[in-house]
Amino acid sequence: MLIGISIRGDHLDAPVDLRLGRAQMFLLVDSDTEQFKTLDPGAGQIQHGAGIQTAQMLLKAGVKAVISGDCGPKAFQVFQAAQVPLYSVTGGTAREALAAWRRQELPVIGQPGGMGHA
């Protein structure tokens, strides 16, 4: 299954970007093969609705789970409607996050954090 991880960099040993809506980059990892590709959300420049855009892009890419630090209210709503679970980490690399997810140690984000932007 395809997992989206927000990162700062472009490989599995890059640190997780704790912001979802304005993440620098996403790693799309196939959890069966550990093969990955990158997805540039290009959302850093968007004034409004960056989280919504990013969420839609990840869904379009076919992710079935997302690992990030936090999730704003609007992106959260999009993932919830698509029934894609969000997992939270507080730091570390994408590889570490993936390993923790496999061990089922990552908490599910059950409610949006942050303020988002009105």
Binding site: I46, I52, A55, L59, K74, A118
Partner: protein, 309 residues
């Protein structure tokens, strides 16, 4: 980009009394003080005046006037409602929405009301007619009638972003074009619109359709800079412009140079004074201070009358 000089001011179209907008570009130059003082001077001159406070994110003209209780109307704006059984999830509406107020989640479409600008474009582009009009409350219009003075203000609901839509509703009411009960056109000789600061969408919505624009500025580099922007904004709407210098002092030159370059007349100067600040703090407009302020506004009313005589 030069605004049309004021002497080209056309007589307003038959049947509608002069509609004057007061704006500034820079905030805090004294738009509201000027608007209220001008309205009161026009009342003194025997006119029936409508004062529209279009600074919907912070209407405050009423603080300078002893108005009593207001009547209030809720203003609503279009919000897309999507019929899930009709929607095919094609994403045409999501693609169309510049403001990302619509999002595709799988084959569902979600609406984010606080991002919607009520342009109705999504409804137009939906190929299967799955989008209908809902309504969201964007704010209220309050109005007061006190003798010959009619005051109305728009107050945007907190968290709302649709200032222009609320301002358009204020204008419709002011022109007697609104359908609801608040839309009864007050019988007036003159309308004065107090615009919001800046030169963005809300300010443009407030000055649009005016017969004449008065720009209030102050003799500072910031005042000059934002006055220049406001003049350019007015030029895109082809509005005749005149300038009022508030807090006039021995730095007026900075404004005079710009006005000369743009061929825009300076029609009034209000001297910088502690007296004005003290009156402001007590909720009294500067026009109530006697000469030279009171006389400046009396003269301004005469000047405006002359434009359409």
């Amino acid at each position: 980009m030069n605004p049309a000089p004021a002497h080209q001011a056309a007589r307003p179209a038959t049947g509608h009394p002069p509609w004057i907008a007061i704006a500034s570009g820079k905030g805090g130059t004294g738009k509201t003080s000027v608007a209220v003082s001008l309205a009161l001077a026009a009342v003194q001159a025997g006119k029936r005046v409508q004062l529209i406070d279009a600074d919907v994110e912070g209407p405050n003209a009423h603080h300078f006037l002893d108005l009593g209780a207001s009547a209030e109307t809720t203003i609503r704006s279009m919000l897309p409602v999507i019929a899930p059984e009709t929607c095919t999830g094609c994403g045409a509406c999501v693609e169309f929405c510049t403001f990302h107020a619509l999002a595709a989640a799988g084959n569902k479409v979600i609406v984010f009301p606080d991002l919607c600008h009520a342009c109705e474009g999504c409804r137009e582009v939906c190929p299967v007619g799955a989008i209908t009009d809902g309504a969201q409350e964007i704010g209220v219009i309050r109005h007061w009638q006190r003798g010959p003075l009619s005051v109305c203000q728009g107050a945007l609901q907190i968290g709302q972003v649709l200032s222009p839509a609320l301002i358009r509703a204020l204008h419709r009411r002011g022109r007697g074009e609104a359908e609801d009960s608040a839309g009864r056109p007050p019988d007036v000789d003159l309308t004065i619109v107090d615009a919001p600061p800046g030169t963005a969408c809300a300010m443009m919505a407030a000055i649009r359709g005016a017969d004449h624009l008065l720009l209030v500025t102050e003799p500072t580099p910031f005042g000059r800079h934002d006055l220049d922007l406001a003049m350019q904004a007015a030029a895109t709407l082809r509005l005749p412009v005149e300038v009022i210098i508030n807090r006039s002092n021995d730095h007026d030159r900075v404004i005079e140079d710009l006005c000369r370059a743009r061929a825009v007349p300076i029609v009034a100067r209000l001297p910088e004074s502690r007296q004005v600040a003290e009156a402001y703090a007590e909720g009294r407009p500067m026009g109530s201070l006697g000469p030279p302020w009171a006389t400046t506004f009396t003269n301004l009313v005469t000047h405006l009358e002359g434009l359409w005589a």
